[in-house]
Symmetry: C2
């Protein structure tokens, strides 16, 4: 008799985005003439720039000729992509070698799969609010208890709210219930838009080193940082190579949400313990995971990704990022002028606003949809500390962003 992985049944049924879709569809059906503006799911809208398209076309041509056809490539990615990524890290003051980089088809996949190489009895720490994939994949793996009041048993939640400047506190020490093993941090943060200060990251690295914890650092939005002096890669922090894995994605950076390419860094200095207490290189575990369960990213996609790191590609990508960050400025300043309390939007493409009054995130969602036909994301969907907050994404066409802000200002007073 085949038994299922019953941990799946602990997962909360109502996933955020399907519920949003359901409510939007219902509203659209009842109001067929309404022009709905979607600033909910963080999906890019600008087309891929010319240098990226040219590289992809050239690679497709290569696949059409016997002398340049490509079969299986290295699971970790081609050198023509690993080299420029490594150089990009070095230009940011992060020491990352090409053979410490693993190219993949998405940071969602990598942040989801990384937990496999660690034991089931590690204690997991996540911020609250949090990107749901970190939590759900640990539920599936059996690292949590049952769900109650929007939280899973055994998981350590670190509140990340306006009260602490959206900067999670370090667990108090190695006493039971406070020590953690695997720590998911995301900076710039989805959904709050906050960047973790260098001084905080230094404390996290010191904590991880002292307690042999590992930081899983999601830097998917680092390219959206506009303020100088902010940390783009955790490897800028001395000692981080011994305690951190870092995730990067071209999804938002280069408009690759439908094209699919990402990369993850596992430094060779990173160690964890086996069940005999011996130290083991985490790099070799992830390499074994990827070579056994993955076959590398499509050749033309890797060629397109490499074009992002050329001068022409980097310039084009930068222009797109600036377009989105101008959207972010328009949303942030427009809502602030209208009397809203807003966070984020300076170093991240997300605006995290405080829901006015004592209303809930979902009530504000309905109000915004009904009164302004603008779709956002209820903060409570990211965790119980997200209740009372609301996320707006800067990924949209300018005219829609301008109109959405005007509608909110005129129709949805705080």
């Amino acid at each position: 008799m085949t038994k299922i992985n019953s941990n799946y049944q602990k997962l909360q049924a109502g996933y955020l985005f399907p519920e949003i879709g359901k409510r939007v569809r219902a509203f659209a059906a009842a109001n067929p003439a309404a022009k709905i503006i979607r600033l909910g799911i963080g999906d890019v809208v600008l087309p891929l720039p010319a240098p990226v398209l040219e590289a992809m076309h050239a690679a497709v041509d290569e696949l059409g000729k016997p002398e340049s056809f490509k079969g299986y490539g290295p699971e970790q990615g081609y050198d023509f992509l690993l080299q420029p990524i490594s150089e990009h890290f070095k230009s940011q003051g992060a020491d990352v070698a090409p053979d410490e980089i693993f190219v993949s088809d998405g940071s969602k996949c990598d942040t989801a799969n990384i937990q496999e190489i660690f034991a089931v009895d590690n204690v997991i720490a996540v911020t609250d609010p949090v990107y749901p994939v970190y939590v759900d994949t640990n539920v599936m793996a059996g690292r949590t208890g049952e769900a109650a009041n929007g939280r899973y048993g055994k998981l350590v939640y670190m509140p990340t709210t306006a009260e602490n400047g959206f900067d999670p506190e370090i667990p108090k020490g190695p006493s039971p219930g406070s020590h953690v093993d695997l720590i998911y941090l995301c900076s710039p943060n989805n959904p709050t838009g906050a960047v973790m200060p260098r001084s905080s990251l230094e404390k996290w690295v010191a904590y991880a080193k002292a307690t042999e914890a590992i930081i899983l650092f999601d830097a998917a939005y680092e390219a959206f940082i506009t303020e100088p002096g902010m940390v783009h890669s955790i490897y800028e922090i001395p000692g981080a190579r011994e305690v951190a894995i870092e995730f990067h994605s071209l999804s938002k950076t280069a408009g690759f949400t439908g094209t699919r390419c990402a990369y993850t860094v596992v430094p060779k200095d990173l160690k964890a313990r086996n069940d005999k207490g011996e130290q083991v290189a985490v790099h070799s575990l992830w390499n074994r995971r990827q070579t056994t369960k993955f076959n590398g990213v499509s050749y033309p996609i890797q060629k397109a990704a490499a074009a992002v790191f050329t001068p022409a590609g980097a310039k084009a990508i930068r222009e797109n990022i600036e377009y989105y960050m101008e959207n972010a400025r328009i949303i942030r300043e427009g809502l602030r002028a209208a009397g809203y309390t807003v966070y984020g939007g300076i170093n991240a493409p997300y605006i995290w606003l405080k829901v006015p009054g004592n209303s809930t995130s979902w009530n504000f969602f309905d109000k915004l949809l009904n009164e302004a036909q603008v779709v956002g994301t209820p903060g409570s969907g990211f965790g119980s500390c997200g209740e009372g907050y609301f996320r707006l994404s800067a990924f949209g066409f300018r005219e829609n962003v301008l109109e959405a802000v005007e509608r909110i200002k005129s129709r949805v007073k705080p």
Copy 2:
């Protein structure tokens, strides 16, 4: 203190293809003038055909315009690909609906990931010899004991050799040590090249139904079947929708080893039990797994894949398959004429030959490399019942295949 998944340390260190690579590199270094012909790793060589290239170019162009740009797609794949795949199944007499198909970036990934949705205490059955990914991913998940003499504890190995016509026997019954829960079958088989007879598959389906086992059916090579009446999809067998998951790949079928696209069928009729003994739809588990841990296949790659199912695409793909199967015929008949005992090569792109005398697979590997400069794959690399066998792949350019056969005939007498 972070602990690793110590199951990884049970994995046998010497993976097959790295060891082959090492020996070939050593030979090449010692014999720089030698022309080595590689019929080892099953990697395609023919370029992608025109209809596939055209579809991919057109999709890349779409990504360059705001009105046709594509961001996140459905994790399960686009309808434009699911529909023709479903129709292809129906043309083969297999009832598979579009929403039972999950498009992915590889069958290696899917056959590796599928075990996640099942409990750790299921009993796993694999053939011997076997595609190593089925075994290794279950080792990683903790479903096996330690390795000894080339086999892992707790795994049920089903010998698949010339003695039983390469057709594995069904476990004797539900008594301890004989019943199995998850059964990996691969037909046409990698490495033996054998196709499971319809009558055997009927028995397997009946067994699975009677014992509530699930068959994980790898049909990656079904397009290489040349004999009429053979089973291309397990869903041709009545009742299979209630007991089987099926894996398909465009890697070999359409030359996509470097382009990456595959698909897996999870019928809605398939159920398994949770820890309370209740029946649960496996389709919803796999859907949850894919939507949480995967973000869909790159848009231009899905467009290229859809072109494989057009009349022009199918014709071009068929020509490539026939080219490889003519290679297979040349190898099979050439070696047979030279006095070798050979299997496979009629309905699969692999020739499985009996190593002459009492020599081992690795000794024959060295002999073939030294005396004919031909690289194959030692059968023992696929399991202990593969000892004494040797795999040659039909994926190569005709002139190399002809030369390899001539060299073996003239220099490596059985």
